[in-house]
Amino acid sequence: MNFILSLIITLVIVHLLVVIPLVGILAANLQFLFGVILPYAAVLVFLVGMIWRVTTWAKSPVPFRIPTTAGQQKSLPWIKDSKLDNPTTTAGVVGRMLLEILLFRSLFRNTKMEYREGPRVTYEWEKWLWLFAIVFHYAFLVVLLRHLRFFAEPVPVFVQILESLDGFAQVGIAPLNGLGLPVMLLSGVVLPAAVTFLLLRRLLIPSVRYISLPADYFPLLLILGIATTGILMRYILKLDVVGVKQLMIGLVTFKPVVPQGIGVLFYIHLFMVCTLFAYFPFSKLVHLAGIFLSPTRNLANNNRMVRHVNPWWYPVKVHTYEHYEDEFREKMIEAGIPVEKE
């Protein structure tokens, strides 16, 4: 399996995800299947899958307290300890986890090793992975939240605020503005750009290309497909927004209706989203939940202050002092080392 094969496999699958709803809607009129049954199924798979996944992790105990310490420990009172990178308290751990989850703290440390003639190596500034990763995740979150406007009437205030914040950069500048384009949403541009960066990085950096599997290309291409269909609907092939909203509200109120006249592009978009949802719990995308449970990050480094109990601890076979003295008693006595039995 090399990267070309991986890419081909992935591209074929992603294209199938376009063709299936295309045929299903245009040739077989399966609007109810693609508009109602599959979305319900996908959400169900997502929820059950995630619960199963997190339960599996939670059931597996944490026998040892092994945080990776990334700053000065708390020891003597006159030595300043690093409360976030090496926390000893619950508050510190919460702080560390917030930094990890909201700001990708560990990834921010990233450097790039440069091998030079000499021979010597140096470690260079490399924050691009961190930057595009964080931009990608936040853009994705904003897009996701903005979609809530399809699920609620009236549109929740925070979604409206988000939209106005996100869209402050109206496309075009004077005198070319006002060409009739809707407000170009920042995240609509940023999201595909970040995904593209992550994809190019995977293909262009030799070591990252070497470790990449189809399972790494697939989510990126799938999200790119979702973004592309979304952008097409919004900006190019004006979509019947009222019909879509009717369908969505029908789904969330469990009174599904399938309005006529929603373009096939919408069903392609929706099918890809359903695929992402159903795929999520069974893929590496579960890092979303896994990070919360990662024992090297979510435990306090208070090991010598507070005892940690291993739930499956069992007594082991040991070599006691008595065994030891029995073997070496004479030598010990001769060397003047005290013994229990003379």
């Binding site: 307290r65 021979p119 190596v121 990763a133 010598r304 040991v318």
Partner: protein, 545 residues
């Protein structure tokens, strides 16, 4: 010469870091190379502690003489550990292969072997996990990065699990905290179920279990070795400390790695301990039964580690001491800090440690009741309890190597620097991406400090040596201080190979050289018998100019 079978440094350092373009790793079979692997565990050493499948074998054999149901044992072992370790289960599931860890590993930097990228080291096991424990892997095979566990694959896992020093540098950079040390620890446990250990680990484990220390030093010999240090100390300072062994009723039990009493330059560190304790009049005892702080059981299995670790608390209890003081060591301290209380505690028969000299309560050790000697010494210096003459170390231009285990398993950064700056006048840090939590491994940790894998060790030691070379060229650094017995052995070799101008010392060797002891004679040499600054000419008998 230890390096006769490996290329010269300039040749070895010609490293390519580009993996093959068209051939994926799943299709690249393992090539077990001489100079990289360690010899197989000898049957007698496995038998000594009851490890499975003792037999004579060699990694270059075609047939590794595995039990018939080896695959079942391995997979059942995996299933059991997935249920027992949340780390293992999560780390099998959540890696996104972002590659942030790839160029953080000293073995990848030094070898360019793509399977030494931490992510791929873990993928070796993950590929089996996917095939056997996930639906997608069963269904899609290689497309999902899954593969069958074959004898070839098992050899590959063995080869690379013993090319990781469990230093956790990659874990620091991983956005999810995936810890390759956990993967390697569990990988080695699984291999040990099949009798696939290396002798550099199995030998010390067998020794330690029965004789109390990795080197197999028997009680009378242990005392002899310390006596030899006393002669040396007397020669240098005119003072002969009077340590005790296995003494009941001492206030403190002192435990340090046996490497400190065995080989230079660790021996000078051991002399440093003896001199410091003598000067303080500390009521302490050594133990010949718990004469090992290190724990090669940890490189075998969790259970083996617990079996060896047991002795420290057991001996403290038998002797009736109040608390335990631990010498300079890396993995020993990771275990004491992160594992000992869980394995062998609670230490409710001991008291919360209080320094008898300064009265300082070591609140940070109130549960384990074990204090790091450098914490203890830093407290002494802070409270003005030591008379120090740092100019005695003026011939040294010193840099400090943070040991992986104390760095990323404790966060032990300021204490040793504080001590160091008080005992010498010329201290220079290595570049920031190579110290503290980002420190590089010596290249020989976790039981890989053998002779036959010298190429691997020198490759793994390259990033650390590269940083030492930098401060040597820039500041004239000629001494590499550290607080780890394995560092003292491994870095000595690595420096000899990469930066021969730089020596290696334990921190307490420097403390003892600077320490002004009550009633000492005029010191003209350091503990190594080399002239102190200002005494060079007399020593060499040169004429004044």
């Amino acid at each position: 010469m230890a390096f006769k079978n490996i290329p010269k440094p300039n040749e070895l350092a010609q490293i390519g870091h580009k993996p093959p373009l068209m051939k994926g790793w799943l299709d690249t079979p393992v090539d077990i190379r001489t100079g990289v692997f360690c010899y197989a565990g000898q049957p007698k050493n496995l038998e000594a502690v009851g490890l499975p499948n003792p037999r004579k074998w060699a990694p270059t054999d075609d047939d590794w003489q595995l039990p018939d149901n080896w695959k079942e044992i391995f997979l059942e072992g995996m299933r059991e550990r997935l249920d027992k370790y949340r780390t293992f289960q999560i780390f099998m599931d959540i890696c996104v292969r972002c590659g942030a860890c790839a160029d953080k590993c000293h073995f990848f930097i030094g070898s360019g072997d793509p399977k030494n990228m931490p992510v791929l080291r873990a993928e070796l096991l993950r590929s089996i996990y996917r095939r056997e424990f996930t639906f997608a892997g069963k269904l899609l095979g290689k497309m999902a990065g899954a593969r069958e566990l074959t004898p070839e694959v098992l050899k590959e896992i063995w080869y690379y699990m013993f090319q990781c020093t469990e230093c956790r540098r990659c874990s620091l950079f991983c956005p999810y905290g995936i810890d390759t040390a956990e993967i390697t620890i569990i990988g080695r446990e699984l291999l040990n179920l099949l009798g696939l250990n290396i002798d550099w680990i199995a030998g010390p484990v067998a020794n330690c279990y029965r004789k109390g220390n990795h080197l197999g030093i028997e009680p009378h010999a242990f005392k002899d070795m310390i006596d030899f240090f006393l002669d040396e100390i007397e020669g240098v300072s005119g003072i002969r400390p009077e340590p005790t062994f296995n003494r009941k009723g001492a206030e403190i039990l002192f435990v340090t790695p046996s490497g400190d009493v065995f080989a230079d330059p660790g021996t000078y560190t051991a002399m440093g301990y003896l001199m410091l304790f003598h000067q303080l009049g500390l009521d302490y005892t050594w133990s010949t039964y718990a004469s090992e702080g290190g724990n090669f059981g940890f490189f075998t299995s969790n259970e083996m580690a617990q079996r060896l670790n047991y002795k420290i608390y057991a001996e403290a209890k038998r002797l009736g001491v109040k608390w335990i003081l631990g010498g300079e060591c890396g993995h020993m301290w990771r275990l004491i800090h992160q594992y000992m209380d869980t394995w062998s505690g609670p230490a409710d028969f001991l008291e919360e440690p209080v320094s008898p000299i300064t009265g300082t309560k070591f609140e940070n050790a109130k549960a384990t009741k074990m204090v790091h000697l450098v914490e203890f010494t830093a407290d002494l210096i802070r409270n003005g309890k030591l008379k120090l003459d740092p100019s005695r170390n003026d011939n040294l231009r010193v840099t400090f190597h943070d040991s992986c285990n104390t760095a990323r398993g404790m966060g032990f950064f300021e204490e040793p620097r504080y001590v160091l700056k008080n005992v010498c006048n010329n201290f220079f840090e290595m570049p920031e991406n190579t110290i503290r939590e980002q420190t590089f491994c010596c290249g020989s940790g976790s039981g890989l400090n053998a002779g036959e894998d010298m190429e691997l060790r020198m490759r793994g030691g390259f990033p650390r040596a590269n940083a030492v070379r930098y401060v040597h060229d820039k500041f004239g650094v000629n001494m590499l201080a550290n607080i780890c017995a394995i560092d003292r052995a491994a870095l000595s070799t690595s420096m000899e190979y990469w930066v021969p101008e730089v020596g290696v010392t334990g921190l307490h060797e420097m403390v003892a050289n600077a320490l002004i002891m009550d009633g000492e004679g005029e010191r003209t040499t350091d503990l190594r018998g080399e002239p102190l600054p200002g005494f060079e000419e007399k020593e060499e008998g040169e004429e004044d100019v």
